[in-house]
């Protein structure tokens, strides 16, 4: 019987398989950041252990880092201490680190791919649930806890039970203004936040094949919001073209050998998935969330749902609590929801293509009065590229704030936070209560919807902009 992509990559990394035990998997790439690693390094020290494979390990600073005044000492002493702990640990154990101020610094899931370290057929782990992002390259990539971080540091392996596989087949053409973000939000709304639990997702079909690497990363990134630890897309010419020439991509004969291997990384025709979901791309529309979990979303043209319409008691209760927290009323059109803040950035939508898409819509337009818009590139490299293309000017001229790279308002561990009751349209991945700041209210959106929302001051799609006044000078 044929094998799925996930099964092929899994099988290629089994160090040891024994009856009644989880497989022991080899890890090709271990990404570290300041938040989930300190206790793991402590564990190594307490047990007199070393980092087994320094050449498969890399660290950056992202969750805590400020996006303003990065040349000054970090104001929050606790954040500063955590970053200093990472620096000390990396120096002591010999781990390659890209700290704040370094040209390769940025959100860990933006840094890995842009360095060419994330490659098809590799196993990638990080103490961060959005490690699923790297699955866009046909890597088996998943988030781990701190005990597992320590395990990988010490052994370069992890004992794991093999998950089931789920195919998410998306055929057809995405309509204009419908992005990878809208697609993944629609998938999560369809299968639910627990729908992918226990599965590795494989996104496939003609609509997926047409997507750029950036868009594929957006989709795989939010696999975890559907409950799946990992999401994957089979590598193809788009993947190879993205990788060729990057700092850590193979060269010469190694490149040829790598591509020959990568081409085998497709689910076989006769492979059997444990579950399958089919979506017609043509039926999709710009999608936003209204609630406090990523499955609580709807097309932008819809109204806030009535909790009474849910048959399942726990879903009904969750919807009631969500509307109360979000300050929304059942039946209210989503388009009427006014926002205070717009955030463009994060490991979901902080790459160059995302910034281009937002800038295209802001060109010649202004952010609405009373709306604060933050644009936070995913990495220093993304920021430099954006500056080269003049995107920073477009953002600044529109009245947005152009910030330094980091996780920023996605989770508000740095000073970029929502105030209590403040409402955001955010290109990030989680709309949990308090995620972007205590009492903050988050609507998850695409970069295009974020830009249109910033201009009009309420949740809006790019099409709403063309209905409004023609931008100056266009």
């Amino acid at each position: 019987m044929g094998r799925t992509l996930a099964e092929k990559v899994w099988d290629d990394h089994v160090v040891r398989r024994a009856e009644g035990e989880p497989d022991l998997l080899f890890i090709d790439l271990h990404l570290l950041h300041e938040v989930t690693s300190p206790q793991a390094f402590d564990g190594l020290r307490q047990n007199g252990r070393q980092v087994r494979r320094l050449d498969l390990t890399i660290a950056t600073e992202d969750h805590n880092t400020p996006t303003l005044d990065i040349d000054k000492p970090i104001a929050d002493p606790v954040s500063r201490a955590q970053l200093e702990t990472l620096r000390k640990n990396c120096a002591e154990f010999g781990v390659r680190l890209h700290p704040l101020g370094d040209v390769e610094q940025g959100v860990v899931h933006v840094v890995g791919p842009q360095l060419g370290l994330t490659q098809p057929g590799t196993t990638v782990v990080c103490g961060d649930s959005h490690t699923s992002t790297h699955g866009a390259f046909g890597a088996l990539a998943f988030g781990i806890g701190t005990s597992q971080v320590e395990h990988v540091l010490a052994t370069q392996t992890l004992p794991l039970a093999r998950p089931k596989t789920m195919a998410i087949t998306v055929d057809g053409e995405l309509p204009e203004d419908v992005t990878a973000k809208d697609l993944i939000l629609a998938i999560i709304a369809k299968i639910g936040t627990g729908g992918g639990q226990g599965y590795i997702l494989e996104y496939r079909g003609s609509a997926i094949e047409k997507l750029s690497m950036e868009a594929r990363m957006t989709i795989c990134n939010m696999s975890i919001e559907a409950g799946a630890r990992a999401g994957m897309i089979a590598p193809d010419e788009t993947t190879f073209a993205y990788l060729e020439g990057r700092a850590h991509a193979p060269e010469g004969e190694d490149w040829d050998a790598a591509v020959a291997y990568w081409k085998t990384l497709r689910s076989d025709e006769d492979a059997v998935f444990d579950a399958e979901v089919v979506i017609d791309a043509a039926t999709l529309a710009p999608f936003v969330t209204w609630g406090t979990n990523p499955g609580q979303g709807a097309p932008l043209s819809a109204n806030v749902p009535d909790p009474a319409s849910y048959e399942d008691a726990s879903e009904r209760l969750a919807a009631e609590k969500a509307l109360e927290y979000m300050g929304l009323t059942a039946g209210q059109p989503l388009r009427d929801i006014k926002v205070d803040t717009v955030f463009v950035g994060s490991c979901t939508n902080g790459r160059i293509e995302d910034l281009r898409n937002a800038a295209d819509l802001l060109q010649g337009r202004k952010v609405a009065d009373g709306v604060r818009m933050l644009v936070v590139p995913g990495s220093v490299r993304v920021a430099l590229q954006a500056v080269e293309e003049g995107l920073d000017k477009v953002f600044k001229e529109a009245g947005a704030e152009w910030r330094h790279a980091g996780c920023s308002m996605c989770l508000g561990m740095n000073p970029d936070q929502l105030a209590p009751g403040e409402r955001s349209a955010s290109t990030s991945n989680r709309n949990f209560e308090g995620r972007q700041g205590k009492g903050g209210r988050t609507h998850l959106v695409s970069p295009q919807v974020a830009a249109a929302t910033a201009v009009l001051g309420h949740l809006a799609s790019p099409a709403d902009l063309s209905d409004a006044a023609t931008p100056a000078g266009v």
Binding site: V35, T36, L54, D76, F142, G143, S147, L411, R430, G434
Partner: protein, 197 residues
């Protein structure tokens, strides 16, 4: 890791689904670099409400959390497990856990027990009606027991064995050093490296 065999304690019924790890322990607590001291951050936002179940006097000292489906979704932060343990919880019961949270809990000796929602409902009703009702989570027999409730649960034999004996995963893996070295020796040269060594 502490071994887990059986535990009996009073319960906290938490009638919420999709309790994400941001609710269990908010991000600003994640700046700490230790594994302890997270108890005050547990459900921090909800605990501001004096009526929140964890704040009720009759729930003080309870050690078993009975939660709605999809408990522990979201961020991979192991701090969520530490916060529950630091507060005093020994076991969490739900009809469905997020994968990463479940893995983290079992590595720390916090037993996460999956039971059908009907049994969770029965535990909610029992412990809401009688806050002094005790719930037993018996890993040796793989059973949850309480007044009128006798429910079997599943946990794979390997995870159970590690929990019952409080075994350290890293030491177990290092017994397979020869297998790891053999795998490493056979890896293709095109695989990425972060540094030259």
């Amino acid at each position: 890791m502490e071994a887990f065999t059986t535990h009996t304690g009073r319960a906290v019924p938490l009638r919420r689904s999709n309790v994400d790890t941001d609710q269990i322990i908010p991000a600003h607590w994640l700046k700490k670099v230790t594994r302890d001291g997270f108890e005050d951050g547990l459900f921090e936002a909800w605990r501001k409400d004096s009526e929140f179940v964890l704040n009720r006097p009759e729930r003080q000292g309870a050690t078993v959390l009975v939660a709605g489906p999809d408990f522990g979704t979201g961020s991979s932060r192991e701090h969520a497990v530490w916060a529950l343990q630091n507060y005093g919880f020994q076991a969490v019961i739900s009809s469905r856990f997020a994968d990463i949270f479940r893995g983290n809990s079992l590595k720390n000796g916090l037993l996460t027990v999956v039971l059908p929602q009907e049994t969770v409902d029965a535990l909610w009703e029992l412990t809401e009606a009688d806050p002094t009702a005790e719930v037993t989570v018996d890993l040796e027999r793989r059973k949850v027991l309480a007044a009128g409730i006798d429910a079997d649960f599943e946990l794979d034999e390997n995870a159970r064995w590690r929990l019952l004996n409080g075994l350290d995963d890293i030491s177990l893996t290092l017994q397979n050093e020869a297998d790891i070295a053999a795998y490493e020796a056979a890896r293709p040269s095109f695989k990425p490296r972060t540094i030259t060594v």
